[in-house]
């Protein structure tokens, strides 16, 4: 707490604060992944986790290696891969809905064709 007050006086945000934010985001994603039953909601939880990882990459790059681009490009490529993954997942979900009229994981107990 003392560190926090000292930092607040200095006008700087410590690295631990950024990491704490992404920590809360990641584990709320884990909770959603384990508790939700709709496929779309599971996808929302996965997006939250990927986004938390992006924040971590960027924060480590900015605080520990300023002037380099490693974390920056990892975050950039992670965003691209997340977009790909979402597109394919939503195509699969819509196809499942067309076949079984439901997107709940409990109803998906057989493979069509």
């Amino acid at each position: 707490m003392g560190d926090f007050i000292a930092n607040f006086g200095l006008g700087q945000v410590p690295i631990t604060a950024y990491l704490g934010v992404s920590l809360i985001m990641f584990f709320s994603g884990v909770y959603g992944f384990l508790t939700r039953k709709s496929l779309l909601m599971i996808l929302v939880a996965v997006e939250l986790m990927l986004n938390a990882v992006d924040i971590n990459f960027v924060v480590f790059n900015r605080f520990l290696f300023p002037g380099q681009f490693e974390g920056f490009f990892f975050a950039l490529f992670t965003i691209a891969i997340a977009a790909c993954e979402t597109a394919v997942a939503i195509a699969i979900i819509i196809n499942i809905y067309r076949n079984t009229s439901s997107v709940q994981v409990g109803d998906l107990d057989e493979m069509k064709e």
Binding site: G11, V13, L23, G29, T35, L48, R62, F69, I79, C84
Partner: protein, 167 residues
């Protein structure tokens, strides 16, 4: 001082809405809360002096992915549908897992990440440097991953059309 206030506002928004996004009962609200989280994350990137990443986050996540999500929700849900929940015992187990994870990682971060890193050099990278790094073939340059990502995107487009087309 100003960036501290902005950071804590954004952090509060992210924490609140990411928890709401995974606990909300209505599926469309959950998607909307996810949008708020993604926009606040873009704000964090701007606060860390990465304006290019800010633009990418807004364009790809808030623009592309959220449109896909909302279309998928409209296509697969009847109005007024509630989200089905797991049994309470499983929810409690999941909550215990998440809280244990938060506690463990917070302990590790608090005691092992050195307190020296409270400041960062706030210089803004030139967009020219980003372009050279993205398109160069030397060490620490990223042309090969860039091309691999483009092939992945192509495979993803073809795969989505194959999966979602009508037979």
């Amino acid at each position: 001082m100003a960036n501290q206030i902005i950071f804590y506002v954004l952090a509060t928004i992210i924490a609140t809405f990411s928890i709401l996004a995974v606990t909300s009962n209505k599926i469309i609200r959950s998607a909307l809360y996810l949008l708020f989280v993604l926009l606040s994350t873009a704000g964090l990137y701007l606060l860390l002096n990465y304006p290019y990443l800010f633009g990418v986050q807004i364009a790809v996540y808030a623009g592309g992915v959220m449109v896909l999500f909302i279309f998928a929700i409209f296509l697969t849900n009847k109005p007024g549908d509630k989200v089905e929940k797991e049994q309470p015992i499983r929810r409690i187990v999941a909550a215990i897992t998440a809280i244990t994870g938060v506690a463990l990682c917070a302990h590790i971060i608090y005691y092992n990440v050195t307190k020296a890193f409270t400041t960062f050099i706030a210089e803004e990278e030139k967009i020219q440097n980003i372009g050279h790094t993205l398109m160069g073939t030397e060490k620490y340059q990223y042309l090969l991953p860039f091309e691999v990502i483009s092939i992945l995107l192509l495979a993803c487009i073809v795969g989505s059309i194959m999966i979602a087309r009508k037979r």
